[in-house]
């Protein structure tokens, strides 16, 4: 069987769903960050697959490099924020960090 566009899209979708599930269910802030990374990479799989099999040309591959760069920048800022949270709250459980209420 030839591996085609749809196979990649299914893998991408599975990774996307796994990432969204992780973000929504994890209470550990680092776990949430890892879920975000999964979703970013699922989008990357789609870009590369469309670039390889679709009509979009090289754009998709270039875009995936942009996304990788963004993921690095976002992780740096995210981890810094989580570190700040740990210093203030002595926990990185996102549900316990909830002092702002109306």
């Amino acid at each position: 069987m030839e591996i085609g566009l749809n196979h990649y899209l299914v893998v991408g979708l599975l990774v996307f769903l796994a990432g969204v599930f992780t973000v929504l269910t994890r209470r550990n802030a680092i776990g949430v960050l890892m879920g975000v990374e999964l979703v970013l990479n699922s989008a990357n799989i789609n870009y590369i697959a469309f670039s390889r099999f679709g009509t979009g040309g090289l754009e998709g591959q270039i875009f995936s490099i942009f996304v990788i760069m963004l993921a690095a920048a976002e992780a740096a800022i995210g981890l810094a924020i989580v570190l700040g949270i740990y210093r203030k709250f002595q926990t990185i459980d996102v549900e316990e960090v909830d002092s702002l209420r109306g």
Partner: protein
């Protein structure tokens, strides 16, 4: 091989945001590496110079209509007028933050350059005619905004606001990327021109999915119901100057991005997204207003009120004509002055120990600080939409464009919502002018920069309200070439 043209149009179109970004970098490097550590005031002025350079470039280019980088980056009336909104709100934020952050014990010089980086991102968003550029603009803006929300590191509220903003913002980015992938796969392009050209032959399911994902992602940035859950907490927890920038600059950038994307790139799909936006607009303004009614904290009340205003703006987007596009842009212009002003007054009330931003803290303010109470009254009346202030013209032209296009129910619901909003804005005015103050007078400091910014906001609120036609004509004309 991809050909990247680089001529005069390209230089001109990147000049405004590049100058701001370079100004930010110079200010940042200088704040770090100068022989003697510079004071915050000098870093602030240096950052203002960067904004001024961007402003000069924007004003010099006013009137030009050029597509650059193969039509993926726009230099037109919309991007230039949006630049004015971003630059003015950033500049006023810097003035308002001066003294305010120090009195809270925040001596972070990086605050000022970060505001410039966020502004550069907003300017990219306002000019993007390609989903990839839009994405880059959003990230440049958001990454700076996450840090800004948490700039008060010793305050648990500020740190918590940064975490919430970051997690939900990063999540929204994921939806954005997946939505862009849907359009890229379906039409083979990410530029608005390419997407328009490829829409006809694209599979419909992918397009609908893509529109839904983009609405979710941009809805998060613009704080549209049901993606607004983060807004009150983040706006309340962040230092007030940052809240002002988030509720004006970030929201305005999101709306310029939404307007250009849907009216231009996805214009042929308008029957699909107009219905979504109609429902979301009504939901957003109603939820924002109803929750604002029960807030005892004025900062949190303004956060909900900014959600309501997002609903009014979205109503303009839903109408989708060039008149409505112009009205949205004018609304952003008016909204910037009055919202910055209202947050500025809250900044003025805060002292080092206490923010003093509960409704009870504003009681009897007219006796203690009549000028401040007067300015706040003007901003609140303008937010309510009382003529002849700026807020009235903004709302009026959105309603007018809705009626003009036959969207009567949307117009009626918008007006009804403004009536609800009057209740909680007037409650603050009544507290300031007709109630007796509680407790001792706080030890207010005099802050000349903040006073200047408040004066500018007041003058802007009144002047735009009295003479809106120039801006309105410019904005409508700018959108005439976009809505095809």
């Amino acid at each position: 091989m991809i050909q990247v043209p680089f001529g005069t149009a390209e230089w001109q179109s990147i000049a405004p945001f590049s100058l701001v970004a370079i100004g930010g970098m110079i200010a940042l490097l200088w704040a770090v590496f100068a022989e003697e550590r510079p004071g915050t005031t000098s870093v602030m002025w240096m950052s203002q110079a960067g904004l001024a350079a961007g402003l000069v470039a924007t004003i010099a280019l006013l009137g030009s209509e050029k597509a650059s980088f193969g039509g993926t980056f726009a230099l037109d009336g919309v991007s230039l007028l949006a630049n004015l909104v971003f630059l003015l709100s950033a500049s006023m934020t810097l003035f308002m933050a001066q003294g305010h952050l120090e009195s809270m014990g925040v001596r972070a010089r990086e605050f000022y350059p970060l505001v410039l980086f966020a502004t550069a991102g907003m300017m990219i968003m306002g000019a993007a005619r390609d989903l990839v550029i839009l994405f880059l603009g959003i990230e440049v803006m958001s990454l700076a905004a996450y840090v800004l929300a948490g700039i008060h590191r010793r305050d648990p509220g500020s740190t918590e606001a940064a975490l919430k903003y970051f997690v939900l913002g990063a999540f929204a980015t994921c939806f954005l990327l997946y939505g862009i992938a849907a359009f890229y796969g379906a039409t083979g392009a990410t530029s608005y021109d390419g997407i328009r050209a490829g829409l006809a032959s694209a599979p419909r399911a992918a397009l609908i999915g893509g529109v839904a994902l983009l609405v979710v992602a941009l809805g998060f940035k613009a704080a549209i119901v049901p993606f607004q859950a983060w807004t009150p907490d983040v706006y309340q927890g962040a230092p007030t100057a940052v809240t002002a920038l988030m509720s004006v600059g970030v929201k305005a950038a999101a709306f310029v991005g939404i307007t250009r994307l849907f009216l231009d790139g996805l214009g042929p799909l308008h029957q699909d997204w107009q219905r979504i936006f109609w429902v979301l607009a009504v939901l957003t303004m109603t939820v924002g207003n109803v929750f604002a009614l029960v807030q005892g904290n004025v900062k949190r009340m303004l956060a909900y009120s900014s959600i309501a205003h997002a609903g009014y703006l979205l109503a303009g987007v839903a109408v989708g004509t060039s008149r409505a596009g112009g009205a949205v842009l004018l609304y952003l212009f008016t909204y910037a002055f009055m919202t910055l002003g209202a947050f500025g007054v809250l900044i003025a009330l805060g002292t080092g120990e206490k923010p003093n931003d509960d409704l009870d803290d504003l009681r009897g303010l007219a006796d203690r600080r009549p000028l401040l109470a007067g300015a706040m009254t003007i901003f609140l009346l303008s937010l309510t939409g009382i003529p002849p202030l700026a807020g009235f013209v903004g709302k009026f032209y959105v309603v007018e464009s809705a009626v003009n296009a036959g969207w009567f129910w949307l117009a009626i619901l918008l007006v009804l919502n403004s009536a609800i909003a009057a209740y909680y804005y007037l409650a603050v005015i009544v507290a300031m002018w007709m109630r007796d103050p509680i407790g001792d007078e706080p030890a207010w400091e005099s802050r000349p920069y903040l006073a200047a910014a408040l004066l500018a906001a007041t003058v802007g609120t009144v002047l735009v309200g009295l003479f809106p036609s120039g801006t309105l004509d410019f904005a409508r004309h700018a959108f005439a070439s976009i809505v095809r």
